[in-house]
C-alpha cells in the first residue's frame, strides 16, 4: 500500500515535501492508519507524529487523511483506497512532520472558561443535578479536543486568533447549559462580538469530520438562540 506523507523539519528543510512510502499489509488483514504510521516509523525513524491512547479517546492523533480530518487510530486503512495522503491538521503551524502547534486551539478553549463556575454557597456534600438536566450535556461532554473540527473550519483558518472555533463553542455551550453553572449570562455576553461566535457561517465542516459524531453547529445555534432570547 502506498502512503504519501507530509514531511517537514523547519530546522533543516527550506520547505515541506510529500514523501512516498510503501508498506506491505497482509492480504485480507486490516490495520488502523496509526498502526501503519508506527510501522513506517520503523523504516524511517525520523517520521514524527503524536499518539497516545490508540483507541480514539485521547485526541492526540488528529490528521488530515486523504483530505479529510480524522483520528489515525480509528481509521482503518481499508477505508482509504490505494494511495493514502497524510498531512498535518490544516491551519496550525507545523512543528515537525505531522505534529502541529496546538497553542491557538487551546487559547480559544481557555477563553470560554472551560470549568464550572458557581457563586452560590457550596452545599454540604455536592451539587446535584436532575437526570433531565444531566441529559442536556449529552453530545457535548464527549468532546476529546482533537481539533479535527476546528482545523477544518474556514472561519478558523482566516481568524484563528479571534474565532473560538467549533470545538471551543461546543464546550462553551456545555457550560452554558449546565444547570450547576451560575455564569450563564456572562458566558453569553463574552461571545457577543463579531468574531468569537458569529464568525461561524454554518458551513458544517465541523459536523462532517468530528470522530465522536458530535454536532458543534447545533451547539452554536443553541447559543445563538439563547443570546437572542436574552437580547429581545
Amino acid at each position: 500500500m502506498l502512503f504519501s506523507i507530509y514531511r517537514y523539519n523547519p530546522e533543516t528543510d527550506k520547505k515541506p515535501r510529500m514523501q512516498d512510502y510503501e508498506l506491505n499489509i497482509e492480504e485480507g488483514s486490516d490495520i488502523m492508519l496509526l498502526d501503519a504510521l508506527i510501522a513506517l516509523k520503523e523504516q524511517e525513524p525520523t517520521l514524527s507524529f503524536r499518539r497516545s491512547c490508540r483507541e480514539g479517546v485521547c485526541g492526540s492523533d488528529g490528521l488530515n487523511i486523504n483530505g479529510k480530518n480524522g483520528l489515525a487510530c480509528i481509521t482503518p486503512v481499508s477505508s482509504l483506497g490505494k494511495k493514502v495522503v497524510v498531512r498535518p491538521l490544516p491551519g496550525l503551524p507545523v512543528i515537525r512532520d505531522l505534529v502541529v502547534d496546538m497553542q491557538q486551539f487551546y487559547r480559544q478553549y481557555e477563553k470560554i472558561r472551560p470549568y464550572l463556575i458557581n457563586n452560590d454557597e457550596p452545599p454540604a456534600r455536592e451539587r446535584l443535578q436532575s437526570p433531565e438536566d444531566r441529559e442536556k450535556l449529552d453530545g457535548l461532554y464527549e468532546c476529546i479536543l482533537c481539533a479535527c473540527c476546528t482545523t477544518s473550519c474556514p472561519s478558523f483558518w482566516w481568524n484563528p486568533d479571534k474565532f473560538i472555533g467549533p470545538s471551543g463553542l461546543l464546550q462553551a455551550y456545555r457550560f452554558i447549559i449546565d444547570s450547576r453553572d451560575t455564569e450563564t449570562s456572562s458566558r453569553l455576553a463574552d461571545l457577543d462580538d463579531a468574531y468569537s461566535l458569529f464568525r461561524c457561517r454554518g458551513i458544517m465542516n465541523c459536523v462532517d469530520v468530528c470522530p465522536k459524531g458530535l454536532n458543534p453547529t447545533q451547539a452554536i445555534g443553541h447559543i445563538r438562540s439563547m443570546m437572542l432570547q436574552q437580547g429581545l
Binding site: K162, A194, Y195, F198, R199, R224, L228
Partner: protein, 115 residues
C-alpha cells in the same frame, strides 16, 4: 474583545439579527416585484409608473434599498475581515463600503421621489 468599530451593528448578535431581518425584507420585496412584473399585461409604462407613484410603494422600495445596503455592509464587512489582512487596505475598503451604502440610499430616495 474590542467592539468592531466599522461593523454595522457593533455586536455579533446585532449584525446577525440585522442580516436576517434585511434578508426577509429583500425576499418580500423581490417576490412582490416579480409577481407584479410577471402578472399579465402589467408591464406598461402607466402600470409601472402607477406602482412607483404610490407613497406606500416608495417607502417600501426605500426600505428595501436600505435593507440591501445594510445587508451588503454586514456581508462585505465580514468578507473584508476574513480576506483583507493589511489594516490600511482594509480600512480604505470599509470606508468606501460604508460611504457607498449611504450614497445608494440617498440616491435611491432621490430617484423614487422624482417619480
Amino acid at each position: 474583545m474590542v467592539a468592531s468599530t466599522t461593523s454595522l451593528g457593533r455586536s455579533g448578535l446585532h449584525d446577525w439579527v440585522i442580516q436576517r431581518i434585511t434578508a426577509v425584507v429583500l425576499a418580500v420585496y423581490v417576490v412582490y416585484l416579480s409577481a407584479f412584473v410577471f402578472s399579465a399585461d402589467s408591464l406598461t409604462f402607466a402600470a409601472w409608473q402607477g406602482l412607483f407613484g404610490q407613497t406606500w410603494f416608495k417607502i417600501f422600495s426605500l426600505i428595501s434599498i436600505a435593507a440591501l445596503s445594510f445587508h451588503a455592509w454586514i456581508g462585505m464587512w465580514v468578507i473584508s475581515t476574513d480576506y483583507i489582512k493589511p489594516t490600511g487596505i482594509r480600512l480604505v475598503f470599509q470606508a468606501l463600503l460604508i460611504l457607498s451604502c449611504f450614497a445608494f440610499i440617498i440616491w435611491g430616495a432621490q430617484i423614487l421621489w422624482s417619480v
